[in-house]
Every structure is written in structure tokens, then in C-alpha cells.
């Protein structure tokens, strides 16, 4: 007997929360075979599961390993559904340019922030790690981004964050972008000192921060 769209959306969500890649993929196939809308399958099924995983992370039931495996499950479902998407992206979609600053190669925190922001509906342009300050500015200008998100785990590379802001000021485009910062040694105090628009303590908090500063 065919399952309803709602039943399958719930199964997709549960597969993500349960970190089950195979189930997420097989359920996604079943969902598409039933003729249901692929975009809804992602946004209301898989992403719903990832949001629940994010809540479990906030509640300290899930930690980094669990979050990564939930992400793997979500992505295995997206791989099945995304070729069937017909809708184009919303014109109101906010763009985030994100990366680890120059000199630093620690990227797990940045990757998790990018994941949670993407799940929340932001278009993510990930510049990777060891990114020169000018590269952040150039990409943000090119794409007319909304947010520049900077990450570092080392005190020696913290000054690169201020350099990004200084470049924006020098080019008289500081007001065009919101700049948010995060990482192990970073604090609200540091964010205020360098003139950043916000500081996020972890990946899930970054979503609330982004929503607040671009609303």
C-alpha cells in the first residue's frame, strides 16, 4: 500500500535523526517513485531531520560525531532527490561567504556552521581554509553576499579577521555586508573590538545570529 506524502516526509526526517544513510536514500527513492515533490522532500523531510539533530546538539544529546552522521544521512537523501527538483531558488535567498582565515587549516567548526546555515536556507559559498582576507571581500562583492562568516582556531590568525573588516572599510563597502566571527579563541569581546557584527559560539547559534542580523 502506498504511503502518504506526510508519512514519507516523517520517515525521511527520522532517517536523518537516526543517522541512517541507507534508509535516507531508500526512503528518498520511495518518495520520488510515489511522485511527490522533490523540493518538499528535502525541505520538509531531510532538512526537518537535520533541524531536529541541531536541537539535540543544542540540548547536548548529540555531539559532533552524531551531527556529522546526520549530515551524511541528509546528503545521501539529497543525492537522490536533487536531480528531480524543478523549483528555482528564491530570489530572497541570503548569501553567506564563509571560510577559515589565512594561516589556519582547522575547518570542522566552519564546516558545521556552513551545514547548519545551508539547512536554514542560506546559500553558502565556502571558500575553504587558509583564505586570504582580500579573497573574502572579493567573493562577497562578486556575489553581492549578505554575510561574510570568518572562522579561526588560533590566536595567531585572529588578526586576519580584523583585516577583512579593515579592507571593507578601506573600499567604503563596510555597510554592504554583515561580518560574523567564530572559533575557539574568539569571544564577543573580540568581535566587538574588531567591529564585527556578531559572534557565534557554535554552529546552531550561528543560525540564530544570521537570522537576527539580516532580518
Amino acid at each position: 500500500m502506498s504511503k502518504t506524502k506526510e508519512e514519507l516526509l516523517e520517515e525521511l526526517s527520522d532517517a536523518v535523526v537516526d543517522m541512517d544513510e541507507e534508509l535516507a536514500a531508500s526512503t528518498a527513492k520511495e518518495y520520488i517513485d510515489e511522485g511527490y515533490d522533490a523540493y518538499d522532500g528535502i525541505s520538509e523531510g531531510l532538512v526537518d531531520g537535520m533541524n531536529k539533530a541541531g536541537e539535540l546538539f543544542e540540548e547536548e544529546e548529540y555531539f559532533i560525531p552524531e551531527l556529522l552522521l546526520c549530515s551524511d544521512a541528509m546528503n545521501s537523501g539529497i543525492e537522490v532527490l536533487s536531480p528531480h527538483i524543478e523549483r528555482s531558488r528564491s530570489k530572497d535567498e541570503k548569501i553567506v561567504v564563509i571560510g577559515v582565515v589565512q594561516g589556519d587549516t582547522h575547518d570542522i567548526g566552519k564546516n558545521l556552521v556552513a551545514l547548519m546555515l545551508e539547512v536554514a536556507g542560506y546559500k553558502i559559498v565556502d571558500l575553504g581554509k587558509d583564505v586570504p582576507p582580500q579573497a573574502f571581500v572579493d567573493k562577497a562583492k562578486e556575489l553581492n553576499a549578505d554575510i561574510i562568516a570568518l572562522s579561526t582556531l588560533m590566536t595567531t590568525t585572529m588578526p586576519r579577521m580584523k583585516e577583512v573588516i579593515d579592507i571593507l572599510k578601506k573600499e567604503n563597502i563596510r555597510e554592504n555586508f554583515k561580518v560574523i566571527v567564530g572559533g575557539g579563541p574568539i569571544s564577543q569581546k573580540f568581535a566587538d573590538e574588531i567591529g564585527a557584527d556578531g559572534y557565534s559560539v557554535n554552529a546552531t547559534a550561528s543560525v540564530r545570529l544570521a537570522q537576527r542580523i539580516v532580518s
Partner: protein, 350 residues
């Protein structure tokens, strides 16, 4: 009282003249001889030993510090990114499959240029400086090393999906570290400090910490203690969720991040395990100046109930851009304000 006696007395909760202090200065040390904390420095035993002495002459804390992390990683074949003047970081994982994990070999210590250079550095340091001020080996722990072999994401995924391979790798890393530590101990090293944020609550759950981190840390720490080391363990990331479990690692000193109130940790563990930490590595030592350091140390020590059973340390490792003047101020302030420990007037509320 020598620094060595001061530290041993602190560990045993015996009387100390002042609270011992260790400033975590290995990345800052090369500046004192006109060098940088880079790849070449890790291959230069004389530079490592000389700079350890020179920085100590300025800071005057209670240990010489040499950093063994890079040597261990290079000995195991890690592919590292070497900044101009800072701790190396992961460039590319070298183990991506179970088959590759099975092939990981315990290195021959003296055949590896980094490990043999480091042992020579310990030998020279002990020869030049003696043992009144102990030599502390600052090292990454098993899980930090594991993350450098696998990459952090793969390590996190395998911790849940392939615990067998993770344990196999932990065993090989531990065997390597014990072999290396034995040679360093022969040359005069006394304290072994394990920094292992990858095993801690910033990343993994307390349940996985109990199942995986604790037994591996204990196996390693027991091995170090059999060699005669005094052992320190740091799991970083705000240790309250696992604070009940740290005792089972059997470390002599539990070194806490700045996210844990050292006075609370001291109360919990007094007369059982000595505690270390208390100084904010960023807000105090990086952003602040000597007067801020002095003020923060005074406040920290004023909150402690006991003068013994504690070492004042930064809450985590320090980069090369920490001011030497701040480290000097940290040591001086600890010595100056030690008598304030236990002097706080108790009220109903505390």
C-alpha cells in the same frame, strides 16, 4: 624549595612555599634566540634546548617546557601544514580507509629525524640545566594525533561507525608514544603533559568519553607513571560534563581549561588529584597586558581554598604571539599572591 620539590609537594598536597606556576612557553621560546617556532626548529636539538633555558631565565616559572607533539606526528607519518611561526596543523589526512589504518606502523624512534632530534634536545637540556627545575614534555594526546592521521571529520564518523579501527589506531599511537616517552625519561624528562581536546566534551559525548577516551588515557597514563613520570591530562572544551570521569584516567594532575572554575575543581578533587589551570589564554594572556595578568592572577588565587594541590597554568596551549612580558607577569604574580589562597572570609553563602 626547588621547583621540582614544589611541584611534587603540590601533587602530594604537602606544604609549598608558593603555588607552582607553569607558563606553557614552548611556542614563545624560539624568539629568545632569534628563531621561529617552525619546522627547522623542530629538527634543531640545540635550539630547542637553549631556547627552553633562555625563556625560563626570563619567565622564571617552575618547569622547562619542550613540545613533543610535532615529533610524534611526524614519526607516525602525518602530513602537516607548517606555519612560519606557530604550531603545525593538519594538511591532509594520510589514513582514509580501514586498509590504510591496518598498515600504520609504530616507528623506529631513532630512525625518525624529528623524534631523534627531540630526544637529543631533552638530553642537552638536562645536561645544561640539571633537575632542580623539572623538564616537562608537552605532548598531544592519542586522540589529537588520531585526528591528524584521519582528519577530524573522518575520526568523528569512525568513532561511531567503526570503533574497532579507531581502537586499533589508538593502540598503535599509544605504543609509539610510550616508546618515545621511555627514551625521553632516560634523558631526564620528569613531567608528561597530555593535551587532548579531540577526546573531550567540546567534540564528543560524555558517554563516548567514558567508553573510549577514559580507557585509552588511563592505559597511556599508567604506562607513563610506570616510567616514573608525573602526569598531567587536559581534555579541554569545558570539562564539567566529564569532570566526574577524569579521576578514572589516573592522571596525577588534572589540567582544566578556563571554562572550569579552578577553585571549584580544587574543592572537588582536593586530597585526591591535584588540579591545574585558571588563566584565560586569550582574554588574559593574549589580549591583556602585564597589569591585567597581575590582576587576574590575584583574583584567581584569592578564590582558591588551598595553597597546595594546585598549579597555576594557562587554560590551554599558547601560540607564539603571546607576550613574554605577560608570561613573566604570570609567574611573578603567582609567587606574589600565593599567600592569598585560603584567606577568603567564608560566609553563609559560600
Amino acid at each position: 624549595m626547588t621547583s621540582k620539590d614544589r611541584i611534587i609537594n603540590a601533587m602530594k598536597f604537602k606544604k609549598v612555599d608558593y603555588i607552582p606556576v607553569m607558563c606553557k612557553k614552548r611556542a614563545v621560546a624560539p624568539q629568545t634566540i632569534g628563531r621561529k617556532y617552525d619546522r627547522e626548529f623542530q629538527l634543531d636539538p640545540e635550539a630547542m634546548a637553549k631556547s627552553a633555558i633562555e625563556i625560563w631565565k626570563i619567565v622564571k616559572d617552575d618547569a622547562f617546557c619542550l613540545g613533543a607533539g610535532p615529533a610524534i606526528q611526524m614519526g607516525l607519518g602525518c602530513d602537516l601544514n607548517w606555519p612560519e611561526d606557530d604550531h603545525p596543523s593538519l594538511k591532509n589526512p594520510v589514513i582514509t580507509t580501514k586498509e590504510e589504518a591496518l598498515k600504520l606502523e609504530v616507528p623506529d624512534i631513532y630512525s625518525n629525524e624529528y623524534m631523534s632530534a627531540f630526544i637529543e634536545a631533552v638530553r642537552l637540556l638536562y645536561k645544561w640545566a640539571g633537575d632542580e627545575v623539572p623538564i616537562k614534555i608537552a605532548s598531544y594526546g592519542i586522540f589529537n594525533i588520531l585526528s591528524r592521521l584521519l582528519g577530524v571529520e573522518r575520526m568523528m564518523q569512525w568513532i561511531i561507525k567503526d570503533r574497532e579501527t579507531i581502537q586499533l589506531l589508538c593502540d598503535k599511537i599509544n605504543e609509539t608514544m610510550l616508546k618515545f616517552a621511555k627514551e625521553m625519561r632516560k634523558e631526564g624528562a620528569l613531567i608528561y603533559e597530555i593535551g587532548d581536546a579531540m577526546s573531550g566534551p567540546a567534540l564528543i559525548s560524555p558517554q563516548i568519553f567514558k567508553e573510549l577516551s577514559v580507557p585509552n588515557h588511563k592505559a597511556q597514563i599508567d604506562g607513563f607513571k610506570e616510567m616514573g613520570y608525573l602526569t598531567m591530562l587536559h581534555v579541554c572544551g569545558g570539562e564539567y560534563p566529564v569532570i566526574d570521569q577524569l579521576q578514572y584516567t589516573n592522571a596525577d594532575f588534572l589540567w582544566f581549561s578556563e571554562l572550569v572554575d579552578l577553585s571549584v575543581a580544587q574543592k572537588i578533587f582536593y586530597k585526591r588529584f591535584a588540579v591545574c589551570g585558571g588563566v584565560h589564554p586569550v582574554d588574559t594572556l593574549f589580549v591583556g597586558g602585564p597589569e591585567d595578568v597581575d590582576r587576574d592572577i590575584k583574583e584567581l588565587i584569592s578564590g582558591l581554598k588551598h595553597k597546595s594541590g594546585v598549579i597555576i597554568m594557562p587554560g590551554c596551549g599558547l601560540s607564539s604571539n603571546i607576550s613574554i612580558e605577560n608570561l613573566k607577569a604570570m609567574a611573578q604574580a603567582t609567587q606574589k599572591y600565593s599567600e592569598l589562597a585560603g584567606k577568603k572570609v567564608l560566609t553563609i553563602n559560600n
